[in-house]
Symmetry: C4
Subunit: 251 residues, 4 copies
Amino acid sequence: MADTRTIQRRIWAGLYTGVKRFTWGHFLVAAIILASLILLAIQTEPELSPIIRSRLNFIDALIPVFFAAEFSLRFWAAGADRRFAGLAGRRRFTFRWVTVFDFLAFAPEIIMLVLFPELWAGARWVRLFRLFRLLKLFAMFPAFREIGMAVRDAGRQLGATLAMATLLLFSAAVMLYVAEADAQPEAFGSVPRALWWAVATLTTVGYGDVYPITVMGKVMAGFVAILGVGLVALPAGILASSFAERLRRRK
Amino acid sequence: MADTRTIQRRIWAGLYTGVKRFTWGHFLVAAIILASLILLAIQTEPELSPIIRSRLNFIDALIPVFFAAEFSLRFWAAGADRRFAGLAGRRRFTFRWVTVFDFLAFAPEIIMLVLFPELWAGARWVRLFRLFRLLKLFAMFPAFREIGMAVRDAGRQLGATLAMATLLLFSAAVMLYVAEADAQPEAFGSVPRALWWAVATLTTVGYGDVYPITVMGKVMAGFVAILGVGLVALPAGILASSFAERLRRRK
Amino acid sequence: MADTRTIQRRIWAGLYTGVKRFTWGHFLVAAIILASLILLAIQTEPELSPIIRSRLNFIDALIPVFFAAEFSLRFWAAGADRRFAGLAGRRRFTFRWVTVFDFLAFAPEIIMLVLFPELWAGARWVRLFRLFRLLKLFAMFPAFREIGMAVRDAGRQLGATLAMATLLLFSAAVMLYVAEADAQPEAFGSVPRALWWAVATLTTVGYGDVYPITVMGKVMAGFVAILGVGLVALPAGILASSFAERLRRRK
Amino acid sequence: MADTRTIQRRIWAGLYTGVKRFTWGHFLVAAIILASLILLAIQTEPELSPIIRSRLNFIDALIPVFFAAEFSLRFWAAGADRRFAGLAGRRRFTFRWVTVFDFLAFAPEIIMLVLFPELWAGARWVRLFRLFRLLKLFAMFPAFREIGMAVRDAGRQLGATLAMATLLLFSAAVMLYVAEADAQPEAFGSVPRALWWAVATLTTVGYGDVYPITVMGKVMAGFVAILGVGLVALPAGILASSFAERLRRRK
């Protein structure tokens, strides 16, 4: 049994020592995640030949299997860490965010693959599950966690400005609905429809598929745009300041 | 009479202790405001069946009644607070922003409902009054007041940059009017018309319904865009810095 | 002569004590500037009746006369100020920015009005001179000068980022010209033409009149947009930080 | 030989004393770089007469020759500087960034000019090499290096937010592909195609050539836009804060 302990300890040290130091295990997993995302993008190309497609599908089915194996290995190897040894340690390990994200990176897809194989190959929305792999990536790199901490530092202000931005979006939609519903029933005929305009305008994307055409609508839209653009840009500014504060304190 | 005083005190403590601590009263009122806004959005959908519409109209008419009742209850219960007891206290309570916003959340609609019921159901712009309910929401949550305080901290700089942005918008409109009026009389034939272009450009929304087509117009527009985009984004940046400063001082 | 000195002193005190304290003179001049700008906007409306137009033209011609009178009055009254008394003081007063801006607010228009009255009424670009009145406004309010000072504080960084943004605009135009010239000769057939695309994209205005359609052009445009948008937004961010720094130091 | 040493020393002092002090040599080189870029832009104009074009081509071929001469001169004169004297000093000089950028400003073009003269005149992508001259410009002015240092200060945070923005772009593309592939196979029929939409939206450029049309697509796009716009704007904010920090420390 001593041999097994040694292997366990070596695997834990070599692959998962923690988020502070990078190991070749981290890089392998990160590389596979990125490769799987590129694979996901390529698979959606409609002009792929059937042979290539079936091969890509095969590789694609292997990836959740790899993540499941990696998850099991890590779960087993975690016993070598004093923090996660014993039953209580195991429980603590199970309910870490890292573990949950790791689990989501393969579990929904394996369940789909086993129970609904025809959905796996056919349904498009199944691919959305693969985005859970990004969470695994985020949990792995400490630089990403710094984003999370900057968000938490300014949490209250971010929440307030996001809520205010949402209410502003709504108000803008109501205003433009009132001004433009008669002139453009298709685009502004109801508040939910006008919301699409409000989002496109206040985020300054401005596709140009909908825009006010009446004088009153243009005046309202101009007013809302000048005041509102700032408000919608505010969360980014607050977050940037929160980052800057962390940077300053570290120095 | 002792009983009434106790009820009064309990209502005040349970519902309106102030903005520092949340009570279930706050959450009930906030939920009803948000529900009423969702209701407002749904009501504008033109494809609603007449039965559903009449029911929604009925609920919609109840909301200002609820706010009126809530307002009266709060007004009465405020007597339990030492600050608002007595005639002078009542007067102080009446002219608080919170009270004014609470009043605007139901009064214009009740007046409309009683005096012009046919307008209430028919006229679209009447719905704009319902946006006053948002003020009630803003007055209720301290996080929103923090936005107000950050605005006040940087008030002078915000004012100067907003004024400068307005003057820049105007200058840009005059310049493009001069350059493009002959080529595009519909879009740039007068300064007020060119203002629509200026707003869409300097807020970087850029719908694409109007844009310069002459070489001189493009050169001017490019010049204005590079310098002006920053100026119009400045208020948001200043506001974000003001938030950051508040955050730092609190720590 | 004592009487004249008293009048001179009173006018200087009442109208022009300086930029630190507002007088009714400041507000009158500011109101006339704003009114003249609104007048400028209205005059460009092509649907005005000839009678109204001729009346507006008359008022419009009075405004530079008013500014000339105000300029002369101020020049004369400045003698009451010790700093501007005597010949050397006069010279110092003449070459202040405020004086230069005041002069530009009426001189070009009076010269036009006297020498080329037919151009004054007809030529559109003559209206551009009226924007000089804005400089007068800027020189009058200290809040605007604070913008100037914030610009000066971060001058070197602003210069470097603006230069870098300009070079990036140029590089983006060259790249898209290389990628798209064959596919879209009208929009990307030369570097100057592609510059219009680069300005519209990197300022994030994105009218949608020109955009890449080839795969190579889209890849390059995407790459340039992600990296470049930040750079073009940088001057605004730096300026906002410079404002924030001034705000902090004043507290 | 003493004469040669003196010339060497004078050239080094007059042209290249370093990046801290400007010499007329710096300005000459900067002017030629800027002139060469303007030349590059003019040459791409398709309406040039053949005579002018051939003359511009001649000037254009001279520029890399000038840079090669300047490079050799500098290389030789560097011996006058104690840091770059001797064999080890030469080696140190050779592998400075400034030297590498200087080399790239002429070498690829001279090689093209000598080995593939028909490509030099004809192929459009050859012009991309001329953008290397910008690197020479960046290496020359210390204000540009300050941008580089601000980037390095916030390097880790910039990296994390850029990576996060890239992953968000990808996720947005997958989401919109799932929602819109059936409705708009041309624009959203695969993830790489949807990426073009994601870049245009999250950088807030919003050309309007592609946008969601289904309800589900619009809801997803709105959600992504509100949250994502901030994230993509974050690197600029972080960079601006990093600049501000440098500014503050210098004061």
